[in-house]
Symmetry: C2
DNA sequence: GTGAAAGCGCTAACAA
DNA sequence: TTGTTAGCGCTTTCAC
């Protein structure tokens, strides 16, 4: 890579001149070289190399009307984003996929309700070609915002909104929360457990709802005293476990809606000298690294491929951005989950 | 906000026409309105409002040569980024500051050594005005890359590189790791502890080095058998603690280089029935939320304002990007730390 | 297959 | 103070 005086940037014009061709031909070569004779292609390529030419992105965007950038919108005012590897992993997956397609990732963090205006303006401002958003709460304004902004969007996690009839469904990627929960609870049942409790997540998050539904699917005659509500944090899991033990000292298993809460629950059980899985079997959800492996005992839990979900989101979005005809509106995808057996159940 | 047929975007031309002024005047108003008479300003503003005009960013960049975007480069191939809230918090601070200055955040995740080429190309490609980078390892190639790319860069964390004489020092923001460590160890000493051990982080990270140096500052006659090395993870902290107890069962205090390792150490002490702080006092580093508050017992630790560091990084970079003359090259800043007393020491 | 030329939407001299 | 005009660097018809 030739080192130039910093700040100087050769233009396509310069490349064309050096290669002895027109700007148009140089442009064709830079953009793939279709329909240009081999010798000319080589000449141009050499000029590019020698000059250290890098296309001016702004100029390109101005004429093509494509920015080559995608916004990732994260609305999570809670502390949760700080202690939850969930986002980091999804973003990693997204980043990999976008990078592979020369697309930039513009991060939009929503700090508060007042920010929605800013986000709307940005999204409608032609800065990005599409958006990826995480919608966690049932009353999330994000779906409405991206719809209004009129840019293709794929959501991470099932949005809580029920689609109005006639309105186009919002495309999303989500794990099979309900199915995973079903498998987990069925597993506890097959183990012979009879009083299977559940520690659920915040009821305004669709993943929590879906996992609770999966629990209900298996335990049709669900006893409400066996269900406690947490907040997807370690501490809330501990509290919920204590509450359950208070109410139902006879419980012999718990299906916990995420690993963080499960680790809190395990701590409470250990502190009270209750054997796991001997007296109480515990199954978590997420297979979060490294939490699940390092609990005492190691946690049996439901694995979901979070990074893969991120990749998939990006993939779906990029496909809908593709102008070569097959740029159909993306469908939603539910990714599979698998039960990982460790020692807690 | 007027809803238009999606895809249509009014131009400055349209605004000017509607306001009955020239494009130049419209442009002036949109960019602050200096030197335009009030009534015209109002007219233009109204036209903007009515048309729902949003400036075309590409066109503007093309002529001003400023992108209004900043890259955040994160090179952390390790698992660590997944379990460490450190980055999320810094990014949050960065995001807030950038947003307040209408600057976009482009996220660049470095997945492996092969990625450095890509990053270099991107940074020199005029996509962004500057960069913020996290340099954690002493052999990090990032400083060299951003220098070669020739764009202003501010680092998070002291880069391990010793600056060649004559070469411009790399500007960075870092916590006062050494000073914080000094205060922590001195505090243990003031408590009357006489055999103060240390669990350090990976020696290729400057923060770990600096904290170790602070420990040494106080314990000049440092005994090597009192020092163990961890990897900034819970498990490694537990291992290091076990190792130390093996070697020096007589130790009466431990200064641990971060809270994650401290929580592992506490677990080991608890498991062995060693009273904290009765027999062994423990001080951590980071005051990580929620870890430090929720250990058993709650952790006495050194607080650093991570989000503030992020803000500061952005602030320094934006200042050096400012073209109004005072755009001096940024200096480095060391942010203060404070000891937070809880129950473990 | 290749080149000439128009124009994307905007800012910044320069004129008026 | 306001308007006119010349590009910024690129892609893309349209001729050749």
């Amino acid at each position: 890579m030739p080192e130039q005086s910093p700040g100087y940037r050769p233009t396509l014009e310069a490349v064309a001149a050096r290669a002895g061709v027109s700007r148009a031909t140089a442009s064709r070569v830079v953009n793939g070289g279709d329909g240009v004779r081999k010798p000319l292609v080589d000449k141009v390529l050499r000029a590019v190399e020698e000059l250290g030419y890098v296309p001016n992105h702004a100029a390109r965007t101005l004429v093509t009307r494509r920015t080559g950038a995608v916004a990732v919108v994260i609305a999570e005012p809670e502390v949760r984003i700080f202690s939850d590897p969930f986002f980091s992993q999804q973003i990693r997956g997204i980043s990999k996929e976008l990078t592979a397609h020369d697309t930039q990732l513009v991060l939009l963090l929503v700090e508060g309700p007042g920010d929605f205006d800013r986000i709307t303006r940005y999204l409608s401002g032609g800065h990005v070609d599409g958006a990826l958003a995480f919608s966690l709460h049932t009353d999330d304004p994000l779906p409405a915002i991206t719809r209004r902004a009129g840019i293709p969007t794929v959501f991470g996690g099932r949005p809580g909104w029920t689609t109005d009839p006639g309105e186009r469904a919002v495309p999303y990627v989500d794990a099979d929360n309900r199915g995973g929960a079903r498998v987990a609870v069925q597993y506890l049942r097959d183990l012979g457990r009879e009083r299977i409790a559940h520690i659920g997540g915040p009821p305004d998050q669709t993943s929590a709802m879906d996992r609770l539904d999966g629990y209900r699917d298996v335990l049709l005659d669900m006893d409400p005293t066996l269900v406690a509500e947490g907040a997807f944090t370690v501490e809330s899991g501990a509290r919920a476990m204590a509450e359950l033990l208070e109410r139902r000292p006879d419980l012999d298993a718990v299906f916990v809606a995420n690993d963080l809460m499960a680790s809190g629950a395990l701590r409470v059980l250990r502190d009270r000298g209750i054997a796991v899985p001997g007296q109480v079997a515990v199954v978590g959800f997420d297979d979060m690294d490294p939490v699940a492996k390092e609990t005492d005992p190691p946690l049996t839990t439901v694995n979901q491929d979070i990074e893969g979900q991120g990749r998939l989101m990006a993939k779906l979005l990029l496909r809908s951005l593709d102008r070569t005809g097959n740029g159909a509106a993306p469908d939603s995808v539910i990714t599979p989950t698998t039960l990982v057996r460790r020692a807690s159940a």
